[in-house]
Symmetry: C2
Subunit: 338 residues, 2 copies
DNA sequence: CTGTTAGCGCGTTCAA
DNA sequence: TTGAACGCGCTAACAG
């Protein structure tokens, strides 16, 4: 069924080697021969067997991506950019979904078995201090790039281990500057679980930023899932209290959408009576309950791929990357109505 | 760096074959030997080279998934379920993103090169009558499973080509029954482009269903992208007309979210003055401008994988699958205020 | 129960 | 400019 180099060679009365070289455009094959070989390959529908090839050249042109969920916006933030960047470089991507440390290790092992040259990893949110996947990969000496979060047991400058995270401290400042300019003084904070370093960083940025700007106290709540439902629930609680904030800063768009829904359901108007901000610039920030002021980040996936590709081609070490975001102002923030 | 069977064998004073068999739990190796081999493999961090293995056994345990976009909800509908189902069966998934017919063919070729045993394909919306990807794959005799849409040039019962689509005609009836029960008579329709068969089917279901139920005329608009922006724009136009519908049936949740935003922005209330329905049950249907009545479908990805797996293991032909949806009633539909 | 032989499809090396 | 021998890591088939 499948045509091999040998089949082409026999059909053409050439050696396997000549055909192989012709197809790879080697310098030591005549133009006429090359043309003949090409035509035959095209005609018979030949395509090379990459398993055999990578067995020989010890490069698979394959990378692995492990994430907790493909359907989530978080996963999309990484997978789309990574896959596109890889394709452009002629590299194929294996995906694996892992919802536990055990599955993470299993997926990574399967990918290594298939010859993955690097593992890209968006870990699930977890309070575990060591990652079985990391252990498996680093033991094999493969490069590993973490997205968004990374476990406690990666040393700084491990060389073959790196990460691409968002500058959430910077995001906090962008939002605080904006709200402060609009005259807000009392803000509430709905953030992610502190086991996620980037959210811990976000919280720190908010706390320090609020103090630095002489804004009022912050009521802070840390959520594990960062789902809209949680934002909605917590917002309701806050709205029942007598002293309300004038703005709610959220750790992602989903929570912001949930909070916005609760505010609107209460009959309050946004932003005249309450401002809301998110992080992410995803679909929910455009078409949620209200068009959200948020912080947009470029694709982490592409950045991570470039990081690795450069080192693969040119050598050197992979330096961790902290990607900066930019403020996107939409309808959910404004000056308080007098 | 990487440990081979041979390294284990030398370390243990066994033959390569004995080690290979032991690790595969072959019946003709002693329990004691197996234990020794396992321990050594574990200790030295052995994992098999799948390239070499698949070269030999002529099965790669690899499938390919090509889709227009990983970030979209549509892609997620397929990729998550497919990947999870594959993993459970010990099969790895290659993903490729393709935004043109040329890229589709390229991706498919790359996957075949890596030994993909089947190609799963979510085609982009296109009016082309033939698919280069389909041609490449069927020429190679590989199984190909289309999701949601399939090109005009797949013959019925091609055996090695199949598809998993949503029963959009049924979805139309579910929604119409619901709206009809609520007393709606004048409905508008915002659907997908008719080049997408499932949306053509949806439109047909709506048109016939409206007639069958003695409901009023339908103002229908077909959109290519089915993006929220389009729903919002079209809804605004409709709201400017003197004779308004009392309900808007949308081809997906995104358009419904856009339409809902336009309605609310106009100061109308949902559902007291206008009902809206979507299809999809995605994030936007929960946390869009309003919680949407929609039609939920089970994961097409998983269904498609099972379709292929059964045939791979047991032989036979792959029959196309039409997956039924179920109505999910939320806050966007109701009786008209008198 | 364990080992030997052979070869999957390709590319590196070196000779013609 | 072309080709022959060899081996990548693994396993099917067969001996011992």
């Amino acid at each position: 069924m499948r045509v091999r180099l040998r089949d082409l060679a026999e059909g053409l009365g050439l050696s396997v080697m000549a055909v192989s070289k012709a197809l790879r455009d080697a310098p030591d094959i005549g133009a006429a021969t090359k043309a003949r070989v090409r035509a035959e390959a095209e005609k018979r529908g030949y395509w090379p067997n990459e398993s055999a090839r990578s067995l020989r050249v010890k490069q698979s042109g394959l990378i692995g991506l492990v994430l907790p969920d493909l359907a989530s916006e978080e996963g999309a933030l990484v997978s789309g950019g990574l896959t596109e960047a890889a394709q452009e470089a002629g590299i194929s991507v294996l995906v694996g979904i892992a919802r536990s440390g055990k599955q993470e290790a299993e997926q990574v092992r399967a990918m290594m078995g298939r010859g993955a040259e690097a593992i890209f990893f968006l870990p699930r949110i977890s309070t575990e201090h060591r990652s079985a996947a990391l252990e498996v990969v680093s033991r094999a000496g493969l490069p590993m790039i973490f997205f968004k979060r990374y476990p406690a047991d990666v040393g700084p400058g491990s060389g073959r281990v790196s990460w691409v995270v968002r500058d959430m401290g910077g995001a906090a400042n962008l939002v605080l500057d904006h709200l402060s300019d609009l005259g807000h003084r009392r803000v509430a904070y709905f953030g992610g679980h502190s086991a996620d370093r980037s959210h811990a960083e976000h919280l720190r940025g908010i706390q320090e930023g609020v103090v630095a700007r002489g804004m009022g106290r912050v009521g802070g709540i840390q959520m594990v899932g960062l789902q809209p439902e949680e934002g909605e629930k917590e917002m309701k609680k806050i709205l029942e209290k007598k002293e309300r904030p004038t703005a709610v800063i959220c750790g992602n768009d989903a929570v912001a959408a949930g909070a916005a829904r609760a505010i609107l359901a209460m009959g309050l108007s946004i932003p005249a009576e309450m401002s809301v901000t998110g992080v992410g610039d995803g679909e929910l920030s455009h078409y949620g309950p209200i068009s959200l002021t948020t912080v947009r980040f470029p694709s982490l996936g592409r950045a991570g791929f470039d990081l690795w590709k450069k080192v693969r081609d040119e050598g050197g070490e992979m330096n961790p990357l902290i990607v900066k975001g930019e403020l996107v102002v939409r309808d959910s923030t404004g000056r308080l109505k007098e």
